[in-house]
Amino acid sequence: MGAAAQGKNAPSREFLEKIFRTAYKIRVFETEGIKLYRQGLIRGYFHPYLGQEGIATGACAALSEGDYIASTHRGHGHCIAWGADVKKMVAELLQKETGYCKGYGGSMHIADISVGNLGANGIVGAGTPLGVGAALANQVNGSDAVTVTFSTDGASNNGTFLESLNLAAIWNLNFILLVENNGYAVSTRIEESTRDTDLYKRGLAIGVESHQVDGNDPFAVYEVMKQAVETCRAGKGPVLIEAKTYRHMGHHVNDPGKYMPEDELAYYKQRDPVDRARAALKEMADVSDEDIAAIEAEIAAEFADAVEFSKNSPEVTPESFREFAVGY
């Protein structure tokens, strides 16, 4: 775990449990979701967040009700860490009317604006201007809410990165750009996409407070996010955070990921964020193996319920779709 988590102000059991629960819930969602995909129950794209759970988990723990998030094509983890209802998520993936988007959106478009979730996105880089826009809306409306856009290494070579982060900077917006640098864009290694793989430097170049953090350590992410949120609420935003991480598998469910070197993958698997969260709960809060197993079982059951619920849910009918379409 991160140095911060070991300091004098040792984290509470409550906090440690929350972190583990979130990270594990994402792990279960993705692992079980992949099974549903392979059974043909989920269609379209499914980009697993496996291996990156520490980032969404740590980051969302530092945010408050009323804050906003925007996400990527790899968005399940952010959604779950933000407190989404797993039932409605699974139902969405299963194209059901009970899903977050009534089955209109699917994996890449889950959003819930009622709780400030601006949504996943199928366009790499699009979450950045949308997030900056939400931060702008909040500033105009006199709110001190913070908006976090979860972004990617791939999106950092895209024009939206420069344009929108610069707008956030000149307007001192309460905006945090959290770049999840997992080293790949599909099969393209980051070294092939840029000469300088330290992406946080791009924030510094335009006068934005910028940090780099171990994305596989949820506690370290939490600490740097807490600080970033403070910077924002003090009116000194935006902040850029680059979190180094790695995917545990190919780009999407059907990508075998053969281009990922075995030793590289092994290195990161040894630094599994879910394992870290579990170890922290066990070691720092003295939680027993049995209690942890109980938590895990509870989360697994919650997912199984969600699948059951979703399977029994109806789909939107073509008739009501046609009604929806009128005047679109």
Binding site: C101, Y104, L118, G119, G122, P129, V132, A134, V140, S164
Partner: protein
């Protein structure tokens, strides 16, 4: 109701001013719109009145401006983003097409995007190929966008006020030649709903549909045709999406003839779509094919003579109306 004469740009300013006064989440961003009052002076005085939080200059970053506008709208504000030329909106097409237009459907209906892009198009005085386009057809094709093209100060004001109270993304397309034109605008609260066309001139022989800067030109043509004993009905749909199909179809059923005038180039323009609707709905009642008077299928040249040749002039409208009445059977179709 009482009314006053205003310039198009003043009418736009009044709409923004009134709605900013009523709703604190209306704000406006754009290049040079704050301190300088905007290139078309639409936003003059707004900075002083509403302050720098709600009236902001931006860097030259159209994709970013449009993108943050869309994000702000999703998050519940009512942004107006001024883009200097509709040509530059091409830099923000992803945000318009893939985000703004899609969000409502992708969220199953919950998400709303009350985003307004104000910009202007059309030819005018030798500003050449990258500053003269009429690009409404691109927005018109994308489901989810509202496309508004006012031709008069009153419509400009009423439509912009309506735009600021509805919840879908609006492409509010002004015309560089209209900013200084004048017209009567009703006093007090003046709102023009989307989807309601306006009959700018009543007539019985031929229906002519036009919008934006083609309206004054078409009205001149109608005047000349009247002197020739031809009665032209001029319809301004005002909003292309939603389109007042009923008004168009009813008029064509009455006149049995239809001419559509657009400044944009012919191929794949909005006129073609309206023609396809008219022939579908009125085929058995029509006495002539729908005539389209449109810009040439070529970028707009710098040279002023060629620029003029590239877009419809009054005489082109007159000729098309006469063709649709089977007059001058041996005259060649004007380009």
């Amino acid at each position: 109701m009482a009314e006053r004469e205003l310039m198009y740009r003043e009418a736009l300013r009044e709409a923004i001013d009134e709605e900013m006064g009523l709703n604190p989440s209306v704000f406006i961003i754009g290049e040079g719109i704050a301190e300088r009052g905007g290139s078309y002076k639409v936003t003059e005085g707004l900075l002083a009145k509403y302050g720098p939080k709600r009236v902001r200059d931006t860097p030259i970053a159209e994709a970013g401006m449009i993108g943050v506008g869309v994000g702000a709208a999703i998050a519940g504000a009512r942004p107006i983003v001024e883009i200097l030329y509709v040509d530059f909106a091409m830099l923000g097409m992803d945000m318009i097409v893939n985000q703004a237009a899609k969000f409502r459907l992708m969220t199953g209906g919950d998400g709303r995007v009350p985003f307004i892009m104000r910009t202007q198009g059309g030819t005018g005085g030798g500003v050449a190929a990258q500053h003269s386009q009429s690009l409404e057809a691109l927005f018109y094709h994308i489901p989810g966008l509202r496309v508004v093209m006012p031709s008069t100060p009153a419509d400009a004001k009423g439509l912009l006020k309506y735009a600021l109270r509805q919840d879908d993304p609006v492409m509010f397309l002004e015309h560089k030649h209209l900013y200084m034109t004048k017209g009567m605008v009703p006093d007090g609260e003046h709102i023009v709903e989307f989807g309601k066309g306006d009959i700018k001139r009543v007539g019985t022989d031929v229906t002519v549909i036009a919008w934006s800067n083609m309206i004054p030109r078409t009205l001149e043509a109608a005047e000349e045709l009247a002197r020739q004993g031809i009665s032209v009905e001029v319809i301004d749909p005002r909003t292309l999406v939603p389109l007042d199909r009923e008004m168009i179809v009813n008029s064509v059923l009455k006149t049995r003839r239809c001419v559509i005038v657009q400044e944009a180039n012919r191929r794949g323009g909005v006129a073609s779509d309206i023609a396809s609707i008219v022939q579908e709905e009125c085929f058995y009642e029509m006495d002539a094919p729908v005539e389209i008077v449109a810009g040439m299928d070529i970028p707009v040249p710098f040279n002023l003579t060629l620029e003029k040749a590239s877009v419809p002039q009054k005489d082109d409208v007159v000729a098309a109306v006469r063709r649709s009445l089977h007059l001058d059977p041996f005259a060649e179709a004007a380009e």
